[in-house]
């Protein structure tokens, strides 16, 4: 019943009352209720209602996959920096929908999330590394990383270059090779050639 009420409320313009109800139910015993509460809270930005995003952080580690998924989606609109680390962990989640959503959210967080991608790509867990590479390509973050090779911010340039290099090491070379085939900036193509050359000689 509570899940139904929250679902109906999600379809209506949000109010402080409906948000309070959702917050109260974040720790409900029923995962479906928790998921619906998160779905509602994910809409708060749209209606300019302020909530404390820290309250949603524990839901990212929920035991039930669809609750984690809803939490990730909620942070997609809340764009909370404290969530980045946990979202990074979710890139290796056993459920692909959670992984996919987490990578989408991180990819949508400008370049603030590059560190988390780097951290996972340097980890020992091959499965997590490959999953991250896959998601970087699926979310088109790879194109942005290639664009960053021309970025005047040295830190962003270095991080992007390193991610692309690590991806290449794991045989995720298509974005680089495809860029070389199509029309694009010569300066970027040169830098890509260098990365490819380094990988060959390594």
């Amino acid at each position: 019943m509570k899940a139904c009420i929250l679902e109906v409320l999600s379809g209506l313009p949000l109010t402080q009352v409906s948000c309070s109800l959702a917050l109260e139910n974040l720790k409900n015993n029923e995962p479906e209720v928790r998921a619906k509460a998160l779905m509602l809270l994910g809409l708060t930005n749209k209606f300019s209602i302020k909530i404390d995003p820290d309250l949603l952080l524990p839901s990212l580690n929920d035991d039930v996959w669809f609750v984690r998924l809803q939490a990730v989606k909620a942070f997609g609109t809340l764009k909370h920096e404290k969530a980045i680390d946990i979202l990074g962990n979710l890139l290796g989640d056993k459920n692909w929908q959670v992984r996919n959503a987490a990578s989408r959210v991180l990819a949508g967080m400008d370049d603030t999330s590059l560190d988390i991608f780097l951290k996972i790509l340097k980890s020992e867990d091959r499965y997590a590394r490959e999953s991250v590479c896959e998601e970087i390509e699926r979310t088109n973050l790879a194109t942005r990383l290639i664009g960053n090779l021309d970025n005047c911010d040295q830190i962003i340039y270095e991080k992007s270059r390193e991610i692309l290099r690590l991806m290449l090491h794991l045989n995720f070379s298509t974005p680089l090779l495809e860029y070389l085939k199509k029309e694009g900036k010569d300066s970027l193509k040169e830098k890509i050639q260098i990365i490819l050359h380094e990988a060959q000689t390594a």
């Binding site: 679902e7 995962p31 479906e32 998921a35 669809f66 998924l69 809803q70 692909w96 929908q97 996919n100 989408r104 490959e130 999953s131 590479c133 896959e134 390509e137 699926r138 979310t139 088109n140 045989n171 995720f172 070379s173 298509t174 974005p175 495809e178």
Partner: protein
């Protein structure tokens, strides 16, 4: 010598009489069961909480796997319909099985796809994958380009790539109804026993008009051959399969539209690449594996989720299709002949496989011989007039009854052909089909029977379905 010929002809006549008696009795039982089950289902359907399932996060994701070989003319339409399905979480995976036409290029252009890398684990061994194509704007569409093999290999490749616990095989020329997936998953959600496969209804697309991804009007096709197939499909799906489903004895679910439990398919080793009718073969293998290992399981058929498919409009192509089906049936039966009368496999071994061997496999041959020998016996004076009439009633008029009941079932339940003119046409064709169409079908199947026996087991092209497409080519 004359005595021997007369004895043979007489004996054969008695055999035909008894054979059709048993055959029609079995069909009558199936018919009665189906009538009861469909009517009960129609009453129940109002109370099935489809909306709840659609909104529930517990509803499992599904991968739609569409194998495609030389399908440039129809593939975009199929993908658009698949993407428009009303289901909470699904992905569409198109496997380009080394098409020689521009299937891949057409898809890339239409959906603005780019090449990406994916981790590809070859759980089921397939021909090498050449590339993956994807558009982040359409996150639930993935195209896999692989080296040419066959449909089973393409399906296996799709299973390897799929990320969902369930996958649905869809033919490249078939269009899914918007509600088809949610209706197909319902028996799985409601069953207490693991459902390893669940099939829906395949209906004839010819004559149907649609705009974008919405079916606008369902009409009977103008082409007579297609109307015969409409009657045939109604009969096969509305009571043949429903009847067998009740006793968990389905041996055929259409590869054009069947939902599979991925883990169960992986357990049996996936689709068998050398098989002509890989859809039937995998169902037999699922039965065999689960019965052998004493695992509780169900193979279900639901009569309302719909997939529309094109049927051949030219007699030559229809002949090829029917020969192919018969060859596939025989291939599967002989691959699993150990099940025949094997009590270890329960009703599958003792009832269903014998039914398929003695009626579906041998039936066309008996029918064709009957058409020759029974009238001949009458002309030779071996047979009396009453027996000739009995044979005609059993062989022909009972067919009319079956077709009529199939149409009747459709009318009282789903009524997809709402016009009265369509109903009359269907009834008319239900009668007509027993005077020529059915006999030519039996002739093709008999041809295939001998092709199989004498080792000419080649897979034939089916060109020129509704949109003049060229379907799967399989070697050897």
């Amino acid at each position: 010598m004359k005595w021997l010929i007369v004895s043979f002809v007489l004996g054969f006549n008695y055999f035909v009489g008894i054979y059709y008696g048993i055959f029609n009795l079995l069909y009558s039982i199936l018919l009665a069961i189906s009538l009861f089950v469909i009517l009960r289902y129609i009453k129940r359907i109002k109370y099935i909480p489809f909306a709840d399932y659609r909104n529930s996060p517990k509803t499992p994701p599904i991968s739609l796997i569409i194998p495609a070989f030389n399908e440039e003319k129809v593939i975009i339409r199929t993908i658009k319909f698949a993407l428009a399905v009303d289901y909470p979480a699904f992905e569409v995976i198109v496997i380009n099985d080394g098409s020689k036409d521009k299937t891949l290029e057409t898809i890339i252009e239409a959906f603005q796809l780019g090449k990406i890398d994916l981790v590809h684990r070859n759980f089921l061994k397939t021909k090498p994958v050449r590339g993956f194509y994807y558009n982040p704007e359409i996150p639930n569409l993935l195209i896999v380009d692989k080296e040419r093999a066959n449909k089973a290999d393409a399906l296996n490749c799709g299973v390897n790539v799929s990320r969902s616990p369930y996958f649905c095989s869809v033919d490249a020329d078939s269009l899914l109804d918007r509600e088809s997936l949610i209706r197909l998953i319902t028996p799985i959600l409601e069953s207490n026993v693991p459902v390893v496969a669940c099939g829906g209804v395949v209906r004839v697309l010819n004559g149907v008009t649609f705009k974008d991804t919405i079916i606008k009007e369902v009409n009977l096709p103008k082409n007579a051959l297609s109307v015969f197939q409409v009657v045939e499909y109604l009969r096969a799906f509305l009571f043949g399969r429903v009847g067998w489903d009740v006793v968990n004895s389905l041996l055929i679910l259409s590869g054009a539209f069947t939902l599979f439990n991925k883990a169960a398919v992986l357990e049996v080793g996936g689709f068998r690449p050398g098989n002509i009718t890989e859809d039937m073969e995998i169902i037999v293998r699922l039965h065999k594996y689960n019965l052998k290992n004493k695992k509780p399981y169900r193979i279900k058929f639901v009569s309302d989720p719909i997939c529309w498919t094109e049927v051949p409009e030219r007699i030559k192509m229809l002949g090829r299709q029917r020969r192919r089906w018969q060859l596939g049936l025989m291939q599967t039966i002989f691959q699993h002949i150990a099940l025949l009368f094997n009590p270890r496999y329960g009703k599958i071994g003792m009832l269903v496989i014998p039914y398929y061997v003695f009626f579906e496999m041998v039936g066309p041959l008996v029918e064709i011989l009957g058409y020759i020998i029974v009238p001949l016996a009458y002309l030779l004076g071996v047979l009396n007039f009453e027996f000739l009439i009995l044979f005609l009633i059993l062989a022909v008029f009972y067919g009319i009854l079956l077709s009529t009941v199939g149409i009747f079932l459709e009318e009282i339940t789903y009524r997809r052909y709402p016009k009265w003119s369509n109903l009359f046409r269907l009834l008319l064709y239900g009668v007509y089909e027993n005077f020529g169409y059915r006999q030519i079908n039996s002739f093709w199947r008999t041809q295939a029977f001998f092709q199989y026996i004498f080792g000419r087991r080649k897979w034939e092209y089916v060109k020129g379905k509704g949109t003049d497409i060229e379907n799967w080519e399989k070697g050897k």
